[in-house]
């Protein structure tokens, strides 16, 4: 069964790029453009992995991670942050809040899949 990955980013371009890479590799992809919309959609679904941008309007990645970790169904779900090379401080902060790891934008399709396989058993 193909794994579902939920991607949150306020940039439609970034979403489109990540979605293409993932779908090309057989993943199912769902998206949201900020934390609020993500929480709304995630109420009714349980993806195998969540990838989120940090800086977004309304609700950013940090808040989203905190909110998800407080929900019993997402206690253990792997969460990767989508950061730029210069945001190492944010990565650590996100880890403290419960993120599993991070991706560095722009993410080449090969790296993306390799990293996902690393955090997602059975992918």
């Amino acid at each position: 069964m193909s794994k579902t990955i939920f991607v949150v980013d306020d940039s439609a371009t970034m979403l489109m790029s990540v979605r293409a890479s993932l779908e090309m590799n057989g993943f199912k992809v769902e998206t949201a453009s900020d934390g609020v919309q993500a929480l709304d959609k995630l109420n009714s679904m349980s993806p195998d992995l969540i990838i989120t941008d940090i800086n977004m309007p309304r609700m950013g990645g940090m808040e989203l991670i905190q909110a998800l970790r407080a929900m019993s169904k997402f206690r253990f779900t792997p969460i990767l942050t989508l950061t730029t090379e210069s945001e190492s401080g944010k990565r650590d902060q996100a880890k403290q809040l419960g993120a599993t790891g991070w991706l560095v934008k722009p993410v080449p399709a090969g790296d993306l899949v390799r990293i996902i396989k690393q955090v997602l058993p059975g992918a």
């Binding site: 940039s11 439609a12 790029s17 900020d34 977004m56 090379e85 790891g101 934008k105 058993p121």
Partner: protein
């Protein structure tokens, strides 16, 4: 263009708009910090997106912009007008780049010079702020390398460690042979079988890593599965888990606390291992291993497990490298032995070792035998020295040292040393240049040599560009064309110069030889790969300034009723709107048009059912159905029209920037007020407004609003006010532009118009002030004495007027000298649906747009007079000229007169004239979706378009202005 690139361009434009708004806001904002944060977010997103494409110029410029923005957030004092200007320029550059992407279908040509200039200007801001900071103790970012404990054990430390373990264990055991080390205790956790498998895979490989992974207790709540992470380690050859759980009663177990440690052996490089565990750098420990370390003997100690004679002969066989003999001995001994004993473990190892065929066998066998003897409390055996190589470890070390010093030497002698770049960069650059140089030497007759040269110049360009060597970039650009045309001489010469100082060997060594072409290429490929790896590494190690939040402020989309008055950014980013290609909406519009026509056929059908077939019930049912379909179709049409509606803000959002730029250039102070930004109108109307409005705004600033000192002298505030207001009035949109400038002097206009021959002397005397002022709308009128940079580019207000009229709009101008000017533009809300009056003439139906129709009257033939060859009549005490439609359309038949001897006259307003159009009959009004004529018909000016009507026939819509 790829869809991704299209998306990128579209999003970039939105982001630019958002950035521009924020830039303007910064200047006014009291809460600079919030605005700057927002600004940073936008630039950050923009830059992030550019990374998806190969647009180095764009990325570099935006990177610099991002850095400046990041700095400015921390240090709001950095912000000044010049920086705003610079950032505006930067965003213009990005905008032009987007244009170039679109025009070139995805292969933009960047203005590299401009990019470099912008970048360096931006960087200057950073430098100046750096200097300020240097006074305070600068806190450099901590070393990036994760805390790791790496120990390459030397033989001596290992044996010391071993001594401790042995003394702690059994004193009765003798010393182990001096060159045999006991493996680290950690290896005892491995299953012997895994170790054997691991050993068999790497009998001679000397670089193994033991990784000890101690996940934090809470790791499951970070989404970690340490066992999965460990199992997927690159090069993993064996793994094991220990856990405190074993000692915990299951009833007391908290399964979500991680209380395990994971051990694994990998034959990948340490870098690969550390990279794999990058999310948990503090939870792992790496330890270098030798293959020998895998030779772990496990089990219960029993000193007499092997008979002394058998041990002797085993040692002998091993010493003589008699593997089959040794194996027989080991197997025989194993058969009778308790497998849980240490000796059994050792003998099993021997079997594994002998099964392997490679060179490590003798060493490994000796290693095991010595350990076996140790387990059996026997002293070490004296094995003969056979072809013992130099100590592997130290050999490798020397190698590395040598190669390193070689590198250093060659760079020192390189001509590139003058460059102000790091040692590593220079080394990489030299390497890259050399490879390119050799590629240029390849057979120029290959079919693909053109592509090769183009690749080389691209690589060189990127190298020099990324190192900021603008001279080299320019020189290269000059050489590129010749090179691409096949003349490589100069490029090669130039490249050699760049490489001068470095030994010229490459040319001598690799004299191009056609036979060797292939080998050469392979080598080149390899080297290129190496370099790529190097560069990647560098890139990832470069410490970057801290960037931040991003929010694409979408300009309020067509449907956004919710973010109307509230300016706050928070309400903007919501993704309630969807972007749709305009063509799709147009198609929808066409479809609903056809649908309306199709449904209009139903009443005809009902009529036929009743009249021709006598099916009264059926006719009634069809009519009922028609009512339903009609309602739905109308609602649908309404909805589609709604989609086409756009808020006025779509164009008004450009004004703040425009006004700011112009007023700064003119040294005037202007306050801009925009009202009614949420007023909606059809997309075409809104779009057609953009140009005229910009022109009007320019005029107001240029000619209307005075210089501050003039204003003060006239008792006005120093800052002028320009108000642009949009509002809805019935089914029309009203745009009013008001400035409190010096107004227009009607006398001046009168004189000017007369001078230019636009009016005669009598008119000059007769015109009221108001009428005089409106003369500026006449073609060819411009009040500006000199053509200024801003307005008066030969296009006057008349251009504005004609643009407005094109979409059936009207405009009027009011002005009071000294007080200001007021312009009113009235436009239809929608041009998609036009209401027309259908008239009949010569047996044909034609439409006249309703907004031109004043009234329809029957005029008795007796009341038509001919004055100066023009037919006229008097309507409500007004003389109305009459024209026969048939005559205008060059139709031969006379207009039909009804039984009361009356003509049907449609009174219409065309421009400022009122005229009566004689037709045969009126047929009522109808809503149509007018489509422009296409093909050869488009050349016929008499009709503005055509539409389908209910019975399926085509209705031509008259263009009265043209035919009169």
């Amino acid at each position: 263009m790829t869809p991704l690139l299209e998306q990128f361009v579209s999003e970039t434009r939105d982001l630019l708009q958002g950035i521009s708004e924020q830039l303007l806001a910064v200047e006014k904002s009291d809460d600079k910090k919030t605005t700057l944060n927002e600004l940073f977010r936008l630039v950050h997103t923009l830059k992030g997106n550019t990374g998806l494409f190969e647009f180095p110029d764009l990325t570099r410029v935006l990177h610099a912009g991002e850095d400046v923005m990041s700095e400015a957030r921390e240090n709001t004092g950095l912000w000044d007008q010049n920086l705003t200007d610079l950032l505006f320029d930067t965003m213009d550059f990005v905008g032009q780049f987007c244009d170039s992407i679109e025009e070139s279908d995805g292969n933009p040509v960047a203005d590299t010079k401009k990019a470099m200039a912008l970048e360096s200007s931006l960087r200057k801001y950073l430098e100046s702020s750096d200097e300020k900071e240097k006074k305070a103790p600068a806190e450099k970012p901590a070393a990036k390398t994760p805390a790791k404990k790496t120990t390459r054990r030397s033989k001596t430390t290992a044996s010391t460690a071993k001594k401790k373990t042995t003394s702690r264990k059994k004193s009765s055991r003798p010393e182990l042979a001096a060159d045999i080390a006991l493996p680290p205790d950690a290896l005892k956790v491995f299953d012997q079988k895994s170790l054997m498998t691991a050993w068999s895979q790497n009998p001679t490989d000397d670089s193994l890593w033991l990784v000890i992974y101690r996940p934090i207790t809470e790791c499951f709540f970070q989404g970690d599965d340490p066992l999965h992470t460990a199992r997927t380690t690159p090069g993993v050859v064996a793994g094991s888990v220990t856990s405190e759980c074993q000692g915990t009663e299951i009833s007391d177990l908290d399964p979500y606390q991680c209380v395990s440690e994971l051990y694994l052996i990998s034959n990948a490089t340490e870098e690969e291992v550390l990279e794999h565990f990058r999310y948990v750098p503090n939870q792992i420990e790496t330890l270098a291993l030798n293959t020998d370390d895998l030779l772990v003997i496990q089990g219960t100690e029993q000193s007499d497990a092997v008979d002394a004679d058998i041990l002797e002969s085993l040692c002998d066989a091993v010493n003589q490298s008699d593997w089959s003999g040794a194996r027989n001995i080991a197997n025989a001994a194993l058969e009778l032995m308790n497998p849980a004993l240490e000796a059994a473990s050792a003998l099993t190892w021997l079997n594994t070792i002998f099964a392997g065929s490679d060179g490590g066998v003798r060493d490994a066998a000796i290693n095991i035998v010595q350990k076996l003897r140790y387990c059996l409390h026997q002293p070490a055996w004296e094995f003969d020295q056979v072809e013992t190589g130099p100590d592997q470890d130290s050999a490798t070390d020397t190698d590395t040292d040598e190669s390193h010093s070689e590198h250093t030497e060659s760079t020192d002698s390189s001509g590139l040393e003058a460059l102000d770049i790091s040692e590593d960069d220079r080394e990489a650059l030299e390497h890259i240049l050399r490879v390119q140089r050799r590629i240029l030497d390849l057979n120029p007759d290959d079919a693909w040599s053109g592509g090769r040269v183009s690749a080389v110049t691209e690589v060189l360009h990127n190298c020099f560009y990324n190192l900021g060597m603008s001279d080299a970039v320019n020189e290269l650009a000059a050489l590129t064309n010749a090179a691409l045309e096949g003349d490589l001489e100069e490029l090669i010469h130039w490249l050699d110069e760049k490489l001068s100082g470095a030994d010229q060997a490459p040319e001598a060594d690799h004299e191009p030889d056609e036979d060797e072409d292939e080998d050469d290429q392979d080598e080149v490929v390899e080297e290129v790969e190496e370099i790529t790896a190097d560069v990647d590494e560098e890139r990832s190690e470069q410490p970057q300034a801290e960037p931040l939040p991003v929010e694409p402020a979408q300009p309020s989309a067509p449907s956004s009723k919710e973010d109307t008055d509230s300016k706050p950014v928070a309400s903007i980013g919501t993704s309630r709107s969807v972007k749709v290609d305009q063509e799709k909406i147009d198609r929808l519009m066409n479809l609903i048009g056809e649908m309306i026509v199709a449904k209009n056929a139903l009443p005809f059908l009902a009529k036929r059912a009743e009249e021709q077939h006598g099916l009264r019930d059926m006719a009634r049912e069809i009519k009922e159905q028609y009512a339903v379909v009609n309602r739905i179709a109308e609602e649908m049409q309404d909805s589609i029209m709604q989609i086409r509606m756009m808020p006025f803000s779509f164009i008004s959002m450009r004004f703040p920037r425009l006004v700011r730029d112009i007023s700064r250039r003119l040294n005037k102070e202007v306050q801009l007020i925009i009202e009614g930004e949420d007023t909606e109108a059809d997309k075409n109307i809104i779009e057609s407004l953009a140009e005229p409005l910009i022109h009007i705004v320019r005029n107001s600033l240029d000619h209307g609003i005075e210089m501050p000192d003039v204003r003060t002298a006239a008792g006005k505030s120093a800052a002028g006010t320009l108000t642009i207001k949009a509002s809805q009035e019935a089914d029309r949109v009203l745009i009013e532009i008001h400035d409190d400038g010096k107004g227009i002097d009607p006398d001046l206009i009168r004189e000017k118009a007369f001078e230019k021959g636009l009016i005669d002397d009598a008119t000059r005397q007769r015109l009221t002030d108001r009428e005089a002022v409106n003369l500026v709308l006449l073609p060819g009128f411009s009040t500006a004495e000199a053509v200024s940079d801003l307005s008066g580019r030969g296009v006057g207000m008349d251009a504005v007027r004609s643009a407005v009229e094109k979409v059936n709009g009207t405009m009027a101008l009011d002005s009071e000298p000294g007080k200001g000017t007021h312009i009113r533009i009235s436009l239809p809300m929608s041009i998609a649906v036009t209401r027309v009056m259908i008239v009949e003439s010569d047996g044909q139906l034609m439409g006249v747009p309703m907004d031109q129709v004043l009234e329809t009257v029957r005029v008795p033939r007796s009341e038509i007079y001919t004055v100066k060859h023009v037919q006229t009549t008097v309507l409500r005490d007004r003389i109305v000229p009459l024209k026969a439609l048939n005559q205008l359309l060059a139709l031969p038949s006379p207009q039909v007169i009804n039984e009361e001897d009356e003509h049907a006259v449609l009174v219409a307003r065309v421009g400022s004239d009122v005229i009566g159009l004689i037709v045969d009959d009126f047929r009522g009004s109808v809503d149509i979706i007018q489509k422009p004529m296409s093909g050869v018909l488009s050349g016929i000016q008499a009709y503005s378009g055509a539409a389908l009507i209910g019975d399926g026939s085509v209705l031509m819509v008259l263009n009265l202005k043209e035919i009169l």
